[in-house]
């Protein structure tokens, strides 16, 4: 798969209910006020549904930034 940051962006905007949100590969949860632990789960579910993938528990726990999510998506 070749999924880019532009493909992830709309999901973040929708789940975090913030249309002005700009994410980059280096964005971390602490940078975005709406990105709390609850919304993190919604993000995982939304990304899994959109790209028809299933992350492992280990993958989800190892993410440090948006770039890590992209890396796992493109594996």
């Amino acid at each position: 798969m070749d999924i880019k940051i532009e493909d992830l962006s709309p999901i973040f905007c929708e789940v975090l209910e913030n249309d002005d949100l700009l994410i980059t590969e280096s964005t971390v949860a602490a940078d975005v006020p709406e990105w709390d632990s609850l919304n993190h789960i919604y993000l995982v579910v939304a990304i899994e549904k959109q790209f028809k993938v299933k992350f492992t528990t280990h993958q989800i726990q190892s993410w440090k930034c948006v770039g890590d999510i992209l890396t796992d998506l493109n594996k």
Binding site: S37, L38, I41, Y42, V44, T56, T57, Q61
Partner: protein
């Protein structure tokens, strides 16, 4: 409306999903969410946040996976007692809730989801100390508690479709989220229906198309003997659907027919076809003609006198469904699947007919509506209203609330939207409390006339506060509008108040978008209007109102 959620898993998703759905139709929502896994702490302490919140509804959701963890922690020797101990725990808390929050209803998704651990394989059902044996026993005890506590409402937690992922184990590990967001969305929808039913919003009538909906084929073209029902062709699918509809009818859902057909031909199937499950006497209103379905449904609504939002229309034809939806937006029109074999499982999965009460009286409803059709025909032959009312030979039995009527009374308070002065909803438990409180005068009315019995048709609750009386509730079935029942009742209320030496009765009209019918009721009952919604009457000035009812 105040709703509290308590659970032994991360309930935030459930909370969020339910709140979003409630907000669509209600503006007055307050919600309370207990901290993670604090069910026992909230319920043991009657000064806890939960008790102080005084919720109308407690949604008590225990994860079965969490229960299994608790089971594993218990020592082996105690496991045969696991279900018994669990039952004692729930029972204790329900007692505390009944005493300290007497009006609160407890909604409890049961442990219907399997979570079989296969430790003993299939043999577990023969091992009393196994998880599966004890889990099954717990569900049985929950059923028992439901019979014991009138404020306890368990509900099925297992979706009727297998397409839903109930638990995403990655979420369990990462977030203590024992249920997938999709499942919690399903569950919140299910809980919402129960809450709406408590508030009087539920379906009362199902309107059925005939050709290719109740049987296969087109009776007008194919002929009576060639329609698919029973053993012919795909008839089994329709037979099963009809059996289910008959069960609904026996429960008290009104069945009506709306079909583009020649009436005689359409009725012949019900009268003559040996394999038809539904018979003519199961159908309250039969509309088979060539008029538009929207017009026919309007006619059905006039005869039944219930809101469009309590009706469901079933038709295999997408064009007819769209026409009805466009003309009558409030009616529910399910998008039937293409294959008739899927009609019934689809309708079941939609859980359309939620309710929060049941009494044997419900099954009488179809007969009552059929009698009503006869009355309509009879009234058209008489021109003078007084003569008509006299000729009905009406007789009423009026008493204070009796224990054998409690269910029906609670139900009337939950079902009635139109002739309902203040739209206060009462549960069985609330009614019992009122009956035992001498500061309340209660009136229930059973009415019959020469065409048959209407059953319980009216209830009034008058609250006595020192030297004045207040009309807390005045409800009447719309089937007996303009029969002067309310006049007779007012005469009786006044005479009771005279016995109690009370000289002032006050009343209030609380408008909703459905009870315009009683906007002027209190004026008609000779009460003086004080302001927009408040009324008062000096008993000594009361002149008895005219009525036509023997009692």
């Amino acid at each position: 409306m105040k709703i509290a959620i308590i659970g032994n898993y991360a309930t935030q998703f459930f909370h969020k999903s339910l709140l979003r759905k409630l907000k669509k139709n209600h503006s007055d929502i307050q919600m309370y969410q207990s901290e993670f896994n604090t069910i026992d702490i909230e319920l043991l302490d009657i000064h806890s946040g939960l008790f102080q919140f005084e919720p109308d509804y407690i949604i008590w959701h225990e994860s079965t996976l969490g229960l299994r963890d608790t089971f594993y922690q218990s020592i082996t020797e105690n496991r045969v007692e696991f279900a018994l101990n669990y039952q004692a725990r729930i029972e204790g808390y329900l007692n505390t809730i009944s005493i300290n929050l007497p009006g609160t209803k407890v909604i409890f998704p049961n442990h219907g989801i399997n979570f079989d651990d296969k430790v003993f394989g299939n043999f577990s059902l023969k091992v009393e100390s196994s998880w599966m044996f004890q889990r099954n026993k717990i569900n049985t005890s929950i059923n028992q508690l439901a019979l014991q506590f009138s404020n306890f409402y368990p509900m099925e937690s297992q979706p009727s479709t297998n397409e839903l992922v109930v638990t995403d184990y990655s979420m369990v590990v990462n977030a203590e989220l024992h249920f997938s967001p999709d499942y919690l969305d399903w569950l919140s929808e299910s809980v919402l229906k129960t809450i709406e039913a408590f508030r009087g919003q539920f379906k009362k009538c199902i309107i059925l198309d005939l050709d290719n909906t109740l049987w296969g084929g087109i009776i007008g073209d194919d002929g009576l003997e060639n329609i698919h029902i029973g053993t012919l062709g795909i008839g089994k699918a329709f037979t099963r659907l009809q059996k289910w509809l008959k069960e609904l009818k026996n429960r008290g859902i009104i069945l009506a027919v709306c079909s583009k057909n020649n009436e005689d031909i359409a009725k012949s199937a019900f009268e003559q076809h040996p394999e038809m499950v539904l018979k003519l006497e199961d159908i309250a209103v039969f509309m088979a003609n060539w008029n538009s379905k929207a017009d026919n449904i309007n006619q059905i609504q006039k005869i039944l006198n219930i809101g469009f939002d309590s009706m469901v229309f079933i038709d295999d034809n997408p064009a007819e469904r769209e026409i009805v939806r466009t003309h009558i937006p409030k009616i529910l029109v399910p998008e039937l699947p293409l294959d008739p074999a899927d009609y019934l499982p689809f309708l079941i999965s939609q859980n359309i007919f939620e309710t929060v009460s049941y009494s044997n009286n419900d099954s009488e409803r179809t007969r009552q509506y059929q009698e009503e059709s006869k009355r309509v025909a009879f009234s058209q032959s008489i021109t003078n209203m007084d003569d008509y009312l006299l000729s009905l030979n009406m007789r009423a039995v009026i008493s204070n609330f009796q224990s054998f009527d409690i269910e029906r009374i609670a139900q009337l308070s939950q079902r009635s939207n139109q002739f309902n002065l203040r739209t206060k909803r009462y549960s069985i438990q609330d009614i019992e409390n009122i009956m035992n409180n001498e500061n309340y005068l209660t009136f229930s009315v059973h009415l019959h006339d020469k065409f048959g019995s209407y059953g319980l048709i009216s209830m009034v609750i008058v609250k006595i506060e020192e030297n004045t009386a207040f009309i807390d509730t005045w409800i009447m079935s719309c089937r007996v509008l303009k029969r002067t029942v309310e006049h007779l009742l007012m005469n009786l209320i006044v005479s009771k108040l005279i016995e109690r030496k009370i000289d002032i009765i006050k009343g209030e009209y609380l408008p909703t978008d459905k009870n315009m019918l009683v906007e002027h009721l209190l004026s008609e009952l000779a009460m003086d209007k004080l302001d927009e919604h408040n009324y008062q009457l000096k008993i000594s000035k009361y002149i008895p109102l005219k009525h036509f009812i023997n009692y």
